[in-house]
């Protein structure tokens, strides 16, 4: 496949060079006519080779799966074709007096970079013209950029890098999984606070909908404070951490299920 492609490319390059060369040098003048002596032999009509007025690909660079449009106009050809399986694109009517015009367009969907060669011929000869459609591969989807862009705001970095700490019903104890989340958060916070010397993090305490609003407000407060105390014990600067309880006033989901309730029993981090 690769060698095929390479050879096709080489051929195309050759041909295009040849075609270009022709254009520059034509017309090759007929040898100077000898002084007419007697009646000349019946003149044989001189047939000019076809002319490729244009052969383009728009756009010339596409992502895999997108289309490029080939357009062409050829005059004076008896027959014209494009390789890569596109085949004959036109033939002149037999015995046509005026030079025939073959024009048209076609959409192509190459999956790799492909060179298309248009070949036009008549009794006077053959000309070729080539265009190349470059195909790029799209980046794999949903792959987060590994390093924070220096242009991200503090709030964006906090939202992206820090994870919620989750709690049991009616409890503000730091569970094993919350311990892991908070430990990771503390490592990240130390770096982030160095990169953003003016940012402050708010630890929001939330509760599920089942308790009373009043008790949940106290419980949310307790959860935020427990998360803060844990981070401070791991060496995160206390004066850059604020707590804010929402109780059950700002749930992130409202389904009547344990999955949703667990999502809402959390300490959540925002950056200012």
């Amino acid at each position: 496949m690769t060698t095929n492609k390479a050879s096709a490319l080489a051929l195309a390059l050759c041909l295009s060079f040849f075609a270009a060369g022709c254009k520059k040098k034509v017309p090759a003048p007929a040898p100077p006519a000898a002084p007419p002596k007697v009646a000349a032999p019946t003149p044989k009509p001189v047939v000019a080779r076809p002319i490729v007025k244009f052969f383009t690909a728009e756009p010339s660079t596409i992502e895999r799966g997108q289309a490029s449009s080939l357009k062409w106009e050829v005059t004076g050809a008896e027959t014209a074709s494009i390789n890569q399986g596109l085949g004959v694109i036109g033939t002149a009517a037999a015995g046509g007096a005026t030079p025939a015009v073959i024009s048209g367009n076609r959409s192509v969907f190459p999956s790799n970079t492909t060179t298309y060669t248009l070949t036009a011929s008549n009794s006077g000869g053959t000309v070729s013209e080539a265009v190349t459609v470059n195909v790029t591969t799209p980046p794999p989807a949903a792959k987060a950029t590994p390093t924070p862009s220096p242009r991200a705001t503090f709030g964006e970095v906090i939202a992206r890098e820090l994870h919620d700490a989750l709690f049991d019903f009616d409890k503000s104890d730091i569970r094993e999984d919350a311990r892991n989340s908070l430990t990771q958060n503390s490592d990240k916070l130390k770096t982030i606070f160095r990169d953003y010397p003016n940012g402050t993090v708010t630890i929001e305490g939330h509760a599920d909908e089942r308790g009373s609003a009043e008790y949940n407000l106290g419980l949310g407060d307790r959860r935020a404070i427990a998360a803060k105390e844990f981070l401070v014990q791991l060496g995160v600067s206390a004066d850059r951490l604020r707590t804010l309880s929402y109780g059950k006033e700002r749930p992130q989901c409202t389904d009547n299920s344990e999955t949703c309730w667990q999502k809402n029993r959390r300490a959540h981090f925002t950056g200012q």
Binding site: D170, G211, A213, G218, Y246
Partner: protein
């Protein structure tokens, strides 16, 4: 009829022998009183432009009297066809004949079967000088003569529109109730939280759901209102300044009044002492929400409870001023209702430890609390309970119909306002303290956290 004028404290001792209490041998009889007078309230007619307002006049009067829970309403279908509009129409017959339809109205029309009423409220309305004028009388129909039957006769004036129609009816009802030693709820207000404007704000309405008005507009979260006993100030919890803090507004100017919050992530659940000079609240200044007390402007803060648990919703006994009920998760358990002295001593758990118990509220007599409890239900499915704080006997008023929360007593000590999502969304409801006479007061948006003020 003097026994209608009762005292809860004295009744507490004799309640078990009262007829009503025998039906429900519990604390409800103590709260609701016993025998009730029967009253007939036939629809009054109106002249001129007043005639178009009589539905409102009659509806408001009937409801005020029924809601007061001091009467048994005589069933309207039993009323006689000859309804007097004024006392002069009564004519004592030589021989009373209930079948004689041509006879003039007489007292026995109402006191005899099938009406069996003790009292008759009647009258008529007219238009006079661009005003609605209501002529209202209350007769004791058990008396043998018109002169003796006359209990009350009064004239009421109001603008000739719906507001005026409600006003004259409320005033007539209040005068009737006063004869039985009962303060009408008609002038009282219910404050509550509604999200109908797009964010949770404090609203007010009449006790029957009329004239709903927005009080705050912080466009944040403002909730948990508590009104000072004189009705001049309202304290609530708001995120308007960032963290949840206590804000106080004047109900006269609707402007904010300074309140000094302690330095804490959360200050909430303000509630006033009976004299309005102190506020109890909960604050997380120590790292745990705990119970605090301060002057009404937030100065002179002192901590009352001391635990490593979430403690919220302190409510000071309005009669003694000494006992505080509150909600605590101490002992690592689910929240329960506790009581303590106002100096923080003598902490006792009032509820059994089952389920979650929250939202305690004292009745005006300081003998009972209403509260929300999940006892017998899944977490979150609260029902309204009432407890005698001395004996710790309790009774369940609602059952299994959605979340029923934040019960608060009416000034009359017989009604309870609460929130319930039994209709799908949280709305404000009232009921009698025996669980009957349910009325829905709100319907726009989601409504919660009611507070009843005189």
């Amino acid at each position: 009829m003097k026994n209608i004028i009762f005292s809860l404290l004295t009744l507490a001792a004799v309640a078990p022998v009262q007829a009503f209490a025998q039906q429900r041998p519990d604390i409800i009889g103590v709260i609701m009183g016993s025998q009730k007078a029967v009253i007939a309230v036939p629809d009054m007619r109106g002249a001129g432009r007043a005639s178009g307002l009589m539905d409102i006049v009659n509806g408001t009067l009937f409801r005020d009297l029924e809601d007061a829970a001091v009467f048994k309403m005589a069933p309207k279908s039993m009323y006689p066809t000859r309804v007097p509009q004024q006392p002069q129409e009564f004519r004592k017959p030589l021989q009373y004949d209930p079948a004689n339809r041509n006879a003039a109205p007489w007292l026995q029309d109402w006191s005899d079967p099938p009406v069996n009423s003790d009292y008759l409220a009647f009258g008529y309305a007219a238009e006079q000088d661009n005003q609605i004028v209501l002529f209202g009388w209350l007769f004791n129909v058990r008396q043998p003569e018109v002169a003796a039957a006359h209990v009350l006769g009064k004239i009421y004036f109001g603008p000739i529109d719906e507001t005026g129609a409600r006003k004259v009816a409320h005033e007539f009802a209040a005068d009737i109730l006063k004869q039985f030693g009962v303060e009408s709820l008609a002038g009282s207000k219910v404050y509550f939280v509604s999200n109908r404007s797009g964010s949770k704000e404090i609203w007010s309405m009449d006790y029957d759901g009329a004239s709903q008005k927005q009080i705050t507009s912080y466009k944040s979260i403002s909730t948990m209102p508590s009104v000072s006993p004189d009705g001049s100030r309202i304290a609530f919890t708001s995120w308007a300044m960032g963290q949840p803090q206590i804000l106080v507004h004047s109900l006269e100017t609707l402007r904010r009044i300074p309140f000094l919050n302690p330095r804490a992530g959360t200050n909430q659940n303000a509630s006033y002492t009976a004299d309005g000079k102190q506020i109890a609240f909960s604050s997380s200044a120590s790292g745990f929400s705990q119970i605090y007390m301060a002057n009404a402007d937030g100065s002179g803060v002192r901590r009352l409870s001391n635990s490593r648990a979430v403690e919220v919703e302190p409510k000071i006994n309005p009669k003694t001023g000494n006992e505080i009920v509150f909600v605590s998760g101490r002992g690592g358990g689910s929240p329960q209702v506790y009581s303590m002295n106002s100096d923080g001593a003598d902490v006792q758990r009032l509820t059994t430890g089952e389920g979650q118990a929250t939202n305690p509220s004292w009745n005006p007599q300081g003998t009972h609390i209403a509260f929300a409890w999940t006892r017998g239900y899944d977490p979150g499915n609260f029902n309204i309970f009432v407890m005698d704080v001395n004996t710790r006997e309790y009774v369940q008023l609602t059952s299994g119909t959605g979340r029923n929360e934040n019960p608060v007593w009416a000034p009359d000590g017989k009604h309870i306002v609460f929130s319930s999502d039994r209709g799908g969304r949280g709305q404000i409801w009232t009921m009698l303290a025996d669980g009957t006479q349910l009325r829905q007061l709100t319907s726009a948006g989601i409504n919660e956290k009611p507070a009843w003020s005189k």
